[in-house]
C-alpha cells in the first residue's frame, strides 16, 4: 500500500459565504495562533508516519498568512515525514493570496494551489457572499504562476444566483485564458443550515440550467485540452490532483483539525466539528468512527472509483483484494446497471456512462451495499 495523504483543515474565514456548509468560522482570527499549536499537538498522535501528498484546505488557509503557515509546516516536520511529498496543495482565496503569501508558500514547497474563484462576475460574487472581486481573482492566478507555482486550480460554481449561460461562459474563457491547469466545477446545492437555505434567493437557476451548463462547461474545457478525470474535476494532462485521486481510489489518509476526516487500516473517522474544544485539547476531541463489513467497504470503493470517469473501476482487481465471494453481490449490481446502460462495461472494467454523470447518485445508490 502506498503512503497515505495528509489533510490539514484551516477552519477560518473572513466571512461566511452564503452557500457554504463546511466547518469554518468567521471573525475568530485571534484563535489562529492557538489553533496552529493545536494542530501540531494532534500530529503527535501520528509521530513518525510518512506521507505522500499534503493538502491544506479550509476554510481559508491563506488567512493564516505566511508567518504562521511557516511555523505550522516547520513544527509538523519534527513529527511527520513530509519531506518527500509528491504533491503539496494549498487552498487560497483571492483576497488573501497576495504576492508575499504566494512566494512564501512556493518556498515552503507548495507547487499546487487551488484558488476559490467561484465566478468572474462581480454581481454573482457579491450575491453569493464572496468578499473578493473578479479582478482580485485573476490577479491571484497571475501572481501564483509568476511565483513559480506551476499547477494552479480554480473552483467554479454552476447555479449561482443571477448566473446566466453567458456569464458562466465568460468566467470559463477568462480562466482558460489565464492559463489554469486544473478546474473544479461544482453545482450549487442548497444545504441545510446555510444562509441560502434560510433565505433562498429568488434568482437561483434551476436544475435544468445546471444540467445544461454542466454539459456546456464540460464541452468547453475538453475542447481546450482538459481531461474530465472526475465528475467535478478537469485537468490538463499530468495535472490531476494526486491527493484527491487518492480519496477516489479508496486510499488512506489522515486529516488534522476539527471536522477533518481520516481513513486508515479499514477504518474511517471524523474529528468533531468543535474548534474551541480542539484548541483546548486536540487529543481529547471526539470523533465519529465508521467501521463497516468487507462488502460495504468494497462497494464504497467501487462507488468512489466510478467517480473517475477515465480510469473507471476494475472489478477484477477489487475482487482480488477483497475476496472473490465477497465481490459477487457487487458485480451483480454493476452488471445490472450496465444492463440499464447507466454504466459502460468492458470485461470487468466499468465506467460511468456519459448520460449518467449528472445523475450519478442514482447509479451509486445501486452500487453501494
Amino acid at each position: 500500500m502506498q503512503m497515505p495523504g495528509l489533510y490539514i483543515h484551516i477552519p477560518f474565514c473572513i466571512s461566511k459565504c452564503l452557500y457554504c456548509d463546511f466547518y469554518s468560522l468567521a471573525g475568530k482570527d485571534d484563535l489562529i495562533d492557538g489553533y496552529v499549536s493545536a494542530v501540531v499537538r494532534e500530529s503527535e498522535k501520528y509521530d513518525g508516519m510518512s506521507f505522500r501528498t499534503l493538502y491544506v484546505g479550509g476554510g481559508t488557509p491563506s488567512l493564516l498568512g505566511a508567518r504562521r503557515l511557516a511555523r505550522l509546516m516547520e513544527s509538523l516536520q519534527s513529527h511527520l515525514g513530509i519531506d518527500r511529498l509528491v504533491e503539496a496543495t494549498i487552498e487560497a482565496n483571492p483576497e488573501s493570496a497576495d504576492e508575499d503569501f504566494l512566494k512564501a508558500v512556493r518556498n515552503m514547497g507548495f507547487k499546487r494551489i487551488s484558488i476559490g474563484v467561484q465566478s468572474l462576475d462581480d454581481d454573482e460574487l457579491k450575491k453569493a457572499g464572496r468578499v473578493h472581486s473578479s479582478a482580485q481573482a485573476l490577479k491571484a492566478v497571475d501572481v501564483a504562476f509568476s511565483c513559480g507555482i506551476d499547477n494552479v486550480s480554480a473552483d467554479v460554481i454552476i447555479g449561482l444566483p443571477g448566473q446566466t449561460g453567458e456569464s458562466l461562459d465568460n468566467t470559463l474563457r477568462k480562466l482558460i485564458g489565464a492559463g489554469l491547469t486544473h478546474i473544479s466545477v461544482y453545482c450549487l446545492s442548497i444545504e441545510e443550515g446555510t444562509a441560502f437555505a434560510a433565505c433562498p434567493p429568488d434568482d437561483l437557476p434551476g436544475d435544468e440550467f445546471q444540467a445544461l451548463m454542466y454539459e456546456s462547461v464540460s464541452g468547453i474545457l475538453k475542447r481546450s485540452g482538459f481531461i474530465h478525470y472526475e465528475i467535478s474535476n478537469f485537468a490538463l494532462p499530468g495535472k490531476e490532483c494526486l491527493h484527491n485521486l487518492n480519496y477516489w481510489r479508496g486510499g488512506e489518509y489522515i486529516g488534522l483539525g476539527p471536522s477533518a476526516a481520516s481513513h486508515m487500516g479499514g477504518r474511517r473517522w471524523k474529528n468533531a466539528s468543535d474548534l474551541m474544544a480542539y484548541i483546548d485539547d486536540p487529543a481529547a476531541v471526539g470523533f465519529d468512527e465508521d467501521i463497516v463489513d468487507v462488502e460495504t467497504k468494497m462497494a464504497e470503493e467501487a462507488m468512489l472509483r466510478l467517480r473517475l470517469l477515465e480510469e473507471g473501476l476494475d472489478a477484477g482487481q477489487l475482487a482480488r483484494r477483497y475476496g472473490f465471494n465477497e465481490s459477487k453481490g457487487l458485480e451483480e449490481r454493476l452488471n445490472n446497471l450496465a444492463g440499464q446502460k447507466m454504466l459502460m462495461k468492458k470485461g470487468k472494467k466499468y465506467k460511468l456512462a456519459p448520460g449518467s454523470i449528472l445523475t450519478s447518485n442514482r447509479v451509486f445508490v445501486d452500487v453501494i451495499n
Binding site: Y186, S189, A261
Partner: protein, 596 residues
Amino acid sequence: MNNIRNFCIIAHIDHGKSTLADRILELTGLIRKASMEQMLDSMDLERERGITIKAKSVRIPYKSASGDEFILNLIDTPGHVDFNYEVSRSLMACEGAVLLVDASQGVEAQTIANANLALDAGLKIIPVINKIDLPNAMVDDCSLQLYSMLGLHIEDILHVSAKEGTGVLELLEAIVDRVPPPQGNASDPLKCLIFDSFYDAYRGVIPHLRVFTGMLKAGDKIMVKSTEKVFEVEEVGYFSLGLVQAAGLSAGDVGYTVALIRNAGEIHVGDTVVSAEHPEVPAIPGFRMSQPMVYCGVYPIITSDYAKLGAALEKFKLNDSSVTFEKETSAALGYGYRMGFLGLLHMEIALERLKREYEQDIIATMPSVIYKVATNNGEIQMLDNPSKFPPEGQIDHIEEPMIRARVIVPTGFVGPCMELAEAKRGSLVGIEHPDDKRATLVYDLPLAEMITDFYDRLKSVSRGYASMDYEMNGYRAADLVKVDILVNNGVVDALSYISPKEGASIKGRALIYKLSKVIPRHQFKIPLQAAIGSQVIARADIFPMRKDVIAKCYGGDITRKRKLLEKQKEGKKKMKMVGFVEVPQEAFLSLMKIEE
C-alpha cells in the same frame, strides 16, 4: 349473581371512553394512578390513533357505599362504524351501558348509533356528560340533546370529569343501582356468547365469553353452534390486568376459555357456545359472519417475498378473523393477495399492523367495493377488483353498494355539507333538527365515495364539527366506467378504478396530475395516461431527471456521502418496480387524495 354488573361504555370517538375506563380502574384500586397509559388500549396502534380496535374486558371488584361487595365486568367496545357488528355483539354481553358524551362536543352521530344499538339490545342506559372541567363545556345543551335526540331523562344524567375523577364514584354507584344483575340459571345447560377473541401463539385462539346459563369449567366439552365443532376446555378464568385462572365460570359471569382452538376461523365473534352434552340448546339469535365491504390488493415490494407475505397473512388472520384474503395476480405487480376488510378504517389498521407487527414490506392498491356487474348474456358477476371487469361492450349495467349516512352538523355548516354530499352523488333522504343549533342530514351515498375521501372532506368543510355514522343500504344502478392508467405506455392494472361516467375526465386529469407529482423522476421520460377503453381522457409526462447532486465530495468525508446514499436506497426499497418505473405506495392511493 345478584352482585354482578355487566356493563360497557359507549361513546363517539374521542369523547373520553378510555380515560373513563382508566379512572374507574384507578378508583377501584385495580391500577395505580402513576400508570398514565390507558389500560384497555394495549395495541400500539390503538394508542396512536386514540381508538379502540379490539374489544377487551376487565373484572373489577367494587365495594359500594352501602358496604356490599360487587363484581363489575367492564366490557370494552370498539368505537368506530367499521366495527358496528362487533359493537352490537359486545353489547349483548352486558345488561347496562354507560353512554358518554363530551360536554364540549355534544351528541354526535356515533353517540346516536351506539345508543340505538344499546337500546335494541335491551340495555339499561346511564347517560353521562364527560369533560365538565373544560372551559367550553355545554352541560345544559348536552342534557337537552340527550333528551331530544335519544329520549333520555335529564334527571338521570350524571356529570363527570374522567380526567379529574369528578363524579366517577357516583357513576360506579349508579352502575350498581341502575344496571340490573344478570339473569339465568347456573343449573340449566350451558349457553355462552363469544363477544371477542384473541390469539396466543402457545395456547391458540382464546375466546371471550359471556355465560348466560349453566357452568363452564376445565375438562368440559363445548360445542360451537355455527360450526358444530367440539373442543375440550383446558382452562377458564376472568380478566383482571391479565388472565386470571378460575375454578369455573357460571351464569352471569364474563371470562375466557382456553380450549386449544388452533384456527381463528373456527371461532367467530357473535357465535354461541354450548355444552357438547346439550347440543340442542338454541343459539343466541343474530349471529352472522362478518362481511368484508372493502377490498384491496396487497403485494410484496420484492416479488420473491410472496411466500413470506402469505405466511404472515395466515398468522394475521388468526388474530383478526374478520379479514379475508385470497391469491391474486396482477400483470403489473406480480403475485399478491386480494384482502377484504369491514371498512376503510379497518383496512388502514390491518395494513399498518401487517407492516409493523408482521414486518411485511407491502404495496396496497386502491380500495374497491364489490360491484354487481350484469353482462349482456344475462350473467351477474360480483367484482371486487376493477381490473377484473369485462370489456365495456359486454356490460349491460353496473350496480354499486350504497350506504345510508347520518351526518350531524351545526346549522351553520349545513350548506357546505349538503354540497359535498351531492358532489359525492348522494341523495338526500331527510333533514332533522333535533335542536336549534344542529341538523341531522340523512343521505344515501355510494359506498365507493365513502371509502375514498368523503369523511376527510366532511370534516374539512365543517371545520371538524360534523360527525357521521352509516349503515349498508343495498345496491343501486349507476352509470359507471372503468378507467385504466397507463404508465410508460403500459396499463398498470393495479391502478385501474371505477368512476362515474359523468366527470370521469376531470377526475382522470386530477389523478394523472397527482401521479406525475408522486412518481419520482427517472433517467427517462415517463408518459402517463388515463383511458376509458381505447379513449385517452388525460395525459401528462414526467420529465427525465436531469441532475442529482454534484457537490464537492469534500475533504475525504466519504462516510457522509455513503450514508446519504444509504438513506436514498432505503427510500427506494419502499417502491415497487412496475416495468422499469419505480412507483411509491402513495401512487396507488392517489385517487383517495385528489383535490378536485
